[in-house]
Symmetry: C2
Subunit: 681 residues, 2 copies
């Protein structure tokens, strides 16, 4: 059930900037959206007391705190981070809460998020692409007579040819064994489950037969086995609609954070079987969750009934090459050893039950094919799900994670490569890094005069650490304000927020008493260095692959971002630090979990399932470690944004002045004679 979403207008003084936000938003979120900084260390926990604002018109909810006197409260003061907007209000940000000296508001540079790619089932239906690989077809057959005593199977085959234009069938013994009774139970009215051929030369597979009419009840599953998270959706193959979604952590994580660690674990005795069982159990859990939460109205009455497990006729699974190997219990050993040879990149059509999934034995299972050890089925699924494989636009597809996969091309040709970025984008290798869960700092701005932060956390909870998207924005913001230099080293600014730590200089994002950790939350020079190396690997990968196909950044007509990190990526920050090449943000599309989307689309369209084969054949894989230029590109990329600033013509415009700037520690761009102007677009 959707609730009607009302909105409120918030006007901020003294900037006199108005913004419309959803009812019940926090004031700190509203200020963030308006591009206005408010000091806020504690991420919404209401403990730091720094985000005081004054309500000048209208009423708000909450906003009390121990740091706020009764007198201030009565005068309209509130803590912005715990204040909830319930109607149109006018809010004043006092100077101590973030305004620069002299009354100017401290602006947060404008931020762009990628447009979300919307997947439209109606489009698929209109264009004839909607055509589930596993169909249920109703058949009304003539009863046998002395003059027509064909075998039951012959009668069924003829019926499928006559009534549904289906030819060339194959089936198996368990189905054969059911046919006689199925035909006779409802007077030769039956529903058959038919798997379309994976190519035009193959046969239809008769998966099941049911007495009576069941063609309106046909369900499928799409699953993405991520290294970190497993996602599933339950699909009504009759309507194309998603009925339920579920996800869980990949429990293999306990045996290794990344794919290499898991391969090593799988090499132990029984390790491979255990790795497989963990994922299979997780998927079984997701299936149970989804089945548990859906009921559907019956065709003949108004009552709702749950979906029976046996009504799931098809499952499509995508994952990277290691995840797929572990799931299929294929020894992944050579994936981690040069020359990185997987057992297989294509996987035959299978049955879900053979994979240990708690699904009926007539449920077909399809695994997305891979390209190589490090460009897996998840990327192929992303190329399918994002529509890259049929666009005319020259497209760059990037899935950013521990391993970044890059695809360049369009409907005519596709080139791909993978590079190891390390775990920085997933919070790994960063002193106070963490995943994007509650308490993770995911957005940030800074008061350039005081260096007071505005930490926005997941769930508006007291900060615990920094997640990938937060890391990107923090580094970009520190660099934009000249607080760190192009090498990622802190300039000597002499404020308590910047201090000497165990790993070089560090910036204190939140003091211990403001956060949910038992220590100050900091970002230090080693963290920044890890971040720079990660972004450099990706940028060098993109540059090298573009070089290999004889193209330049300016040739790109579209950029598609995929993966969990991609959903939160701040495009301006990404270009500021040189993670993404500089392209018009309007050309950038975010597809979310491309792997899941591709699996879902394969469930809805046999045309897409058939196209996968030719797409995989079309994808030329480049082994970056074998391209001599890659290392040079990488070394050139381990600066903010890059040693070659001509690649980032807009880099200068992103820099803002920093009053605290010391003369003795000038960033590279400064030395080149560029001035630092605040630019408000």
């Amino acid at each position: 059930m959707n609730t009607v979403q009302s909105t409120c207008c918030v006007t901020f003084a003294p900037a006199e900037r108005s913004i419309t936000v959803k009812k019940n938003s926090s004031l700190i979120q509203a200020a963030r959206k308006a591009g206005l900084h408010i000091n806020a260390s504690c991420g919404g926990a209401g403990v730091c007391g720094k985000c005081k604002i004054i309500v000048e018109q209208g009423t708000v909810l909450g906003g009390e705190s121990a740091k706020l006197s009764r007198k201030d409260y009565n005068n309209g003061y509130r803590q912005a981070c715990t204040t909830e907007i319930i109607e149109d209000v006018k809010i004043r940000i006092p100077e101590e809460s973030g305004r620069q000296k002299g009354g100017l508001s401290t602006d947060i540079p404008p931020r762009h998020r990628a447009k979300m790619h919307i997947f439209n089932i109606d489009d698929l239906k209109r264009t004839g692409i909607f055509y589930p690989p596993v169909e249920k077809l109703r058949l009304e057959l003539l009863k046998p007579t002395a003059n027509d005593n064909r075998a039951d199977v012959g009668r069924l085959i003829q019926g499928l040819a006559d009534q549904h234009n289906k030819h060339r069938l194959v089936t198996d013994l368990p189905v054969l064994r059911k046919i006689r009774r199925a035909l006779r139970e409802k007077d030769f009215l039956v529903t058959v489950t038919l798997e379309q051929p994976v190519n035009n030369r193959s046969k239809c597979h008769l998966l099941n037969i049911q007495p009576g009419r069941w063609d309106h009840r046909n369900f499928g599953l799409a699953v993405d086995i991520g290294t970190t998270t497993i996602h599933g959706v339950l699909i009504d193959l009759h309507s194309g609609k998603i009925l339920a979604k579920s996800s869980c952590y990949n429990p293999q994580m306990s045996y290794g954070e990344d794919v290499i660690a898991r391969i090593i674990y799988a090499e132990k005795p029984k390790g491979l079987v255990m790795m497989q069982e963990l994922v299979v159990e997780s998927i079984n859990g997701l299936i149970n969750n989804m089945l548990g939460e859906v009921t559907l109205p019956n065709a003949d009455d108004k009552r709702c009934s749950p979906i029976d497990r046996d009504e799931i006729t098809s499952i499509t699974i995508a994952g990277n090459t290691t995840m797929t190997h572990l799931f299929l219990q294929l020894e992944p050993d050579n994936i981690r050893r040069s020359p990185y040879v997987p057992v297989s990149t294509f996987f035959p059509p299978m049955r879900a039950a053979d994979l240990g999934l708690e699904l009926s034995r007539h449920c077909a299972a399809l695994l997305y094919p891979a390209i190589s050890s490090y460009v897996g089925g998840d990327i192929v699924a992303g190329v399918m799900g994002s529509g890259m494989y049929r666009t005319e636009l020259l497209t760059l597809f990037i899935d950013v994670g521990t391993n970044a996969e890059i695809v360049i091309g369009n409907r005519e040709w596709l080139a791909c490569a993978a590079c190891s970025a390390g775990p920085a984008f997933e919070g790994g290798g960063i002193t106070h890094g963490m995943r994007a869960v509650e308490g993770a700092i995911s957005d940030f701005s800074i008061n350039p005069e005081t260096l007071e932060p505005m930490n926005v956390t997941e769930g508006n909870k007291a900060p615990i650490g920094i997640c990938g998207s937060g890391l990107l924005i923090i580094v970009a913001t520190l660099f934009e304000h000249g607080i760190i230099n192009p090498s990622g080293k802190f300039n000597n600014l002499g404020t308590p927020r910047i201090r000497k730590g165990r790993s070089g200089q560090e910036y204190v994002l939140a003091w211990e008493d403001e956060c949910a950790a038992d220590h100050d939350i900091v970002l230090n020079e080693v963290d920044i260095d890890n971040f720079i190396r990660a972004k450099a690997a990706i940028f060098a990968g993109v540059s090298t692959l573009l070089d290999q196909v004889g193209l330049q950044v300016s040739d790109l007509e579209q950029v598609i971002l995929a993966g969990g990190f991609g959903s939160f990526i701040d495009l301006d920050s990404a270009m500021t630090v040189g993670l993404l090449p500089e392209v018009d943000p309007d050309k950038i599309l975010y597809v979310g979990n491309g792997s899941l989307m591709g699996a879902w689309m394969s469930e809805l369209s046999n045309h897409i399932r058939q196209d996968v084969v030719s797409v995989v054949r079309k994808m030329t894989s480049f082994e970056l470690s074998e391209v001599p230029d890659f290392k040079d590109q990488y070394i050139a990329s381990i600066f903010l944004p890059h040693t070659d600033l001509s690649l980032f013509p807009n880099a200068i415009n992103r820099r803002v002045s920093c009053p605290l700037q010391s003369a003795g520690n000038t960033p590279a761009a400064d030395r080149q004679g560029n001035s630092f102007n605040t630019k408000i677009t």
Copy 2:
């Protein structure tokens, strides 16, 4: 090991007829072969004492008996039935042992057996037909390098294309799981097991992979599931040779003699599963027997090693439609009920292990397709195995058994039908009928003066009863000598051998003290009537099917007999009684167990396996019960040989005089004014 087979010449007096027989033959067999009658009731047990002969030249072994005095023995008398020929001899048949009065020997009319069809592997090889559906192919692959890091499966597929011109493969998960280790164990030298596609549009199936060189060790099985007997052969698919044979009774017999009884049993709770398990266990037993008796020399040394069960890569099974249904656990219920609808006539390619067979999971299993409920895979296999499907000669194929199946046609077209003959030919429904095992009277002649029989039994043992081939010869002989009339009733000849019994008149083949039964062995008028009805059904089936396709007996260029009964069928007797139409015996071919032969050929040639599909499509099935003419044909056939003697122009020539003939009970032919002359051809 073959032993050198020496032969001996036997000359009989007073007929002065010489014959060459194998050393160690019995004298009674030699006389039979020479066409000379010797009274012999006890079938070789040496108890009736009637078959005395005199050794005039040479030495024999044995021939003593309690009925022979010391003096007679010293004078050269022996019992023919227990006398073994070990060198050239001259033998006199005394008058009391069978000669007619006045010194003439009593001749047995000449007998024709069908030519045995010899199946020649070298022919298959020379004509390129030898091409086992499951091959083992050796592959030497290049090791992966940084510049060639294709997946293991991709490497294997490319190798098969390059080295063996094999394209379009499919495999399954268990094989995928073995590939990585198999490739690396013997340095990328592997042997793959490949199942050829069943049609040109299908894919090759990669069944297995083994490290190292194994392409010389590839074995297959062919099995015929008969209603009575299950036969199996073990085949070296590399050479094409048969390595072992084994057979056993179908244990389902305990639950029903014929297919109808077994279908009824299968309808009981758990009956179907039990029927299946019985056959599966029997086949497993045959496999064990055959594996146990074969050792093969290794390629690299002189030592012999047994065949491992896992080295069997393929099994082809043929049986009638009911046997196939029971074996596959398909409910056969509708096979026995009008309009006689089987579940399926085509069976998908399967794995032997899925059928419960104790064979490796990579062993492919193929079931011969059927035409209808009563023209089964055994007949299709017979049409394939006999070569009927590719001959230009217009051919009649008959498999005689409880159900007789008839096929007419050639390489261009095929028509088929089945008719129920009843169990007479398998010894059923006959007072003293039995299967063709030791003690069964299987050959017979008569002294027309005394009506003393010469009973030849299986294994030269004291008679227990009459088997199908014996029944045919006895009825034909009695009819030829005018002892029974065209309606199968005894003429009133007034001898002790013919007497009134419980079921009309009866002929005593052996007295109780001469046989191994605790009663006289007789053939009565009800037995003869059952026999006539059985032969009438078959002849009417042939006539009706010929009519349906607009042909006559004279158009037939070849007759192929198949089935256990066919192997012993006496062609002259069969034409005398009107079981077979009158054709030149030289045109008649016997193929033995056509079902087993067809299964065997499918093991040797994928071309044949592929042709089966088009042959089945070509076979037009006629439901005789739906053809109005069939009943008339049947009624016209329940005479010896037939009411329309123009169909049997040679019938008269087969009749011999019978001195005991009474005037009051003249057979039809007699009444038509034909004389009864002994005709020696």
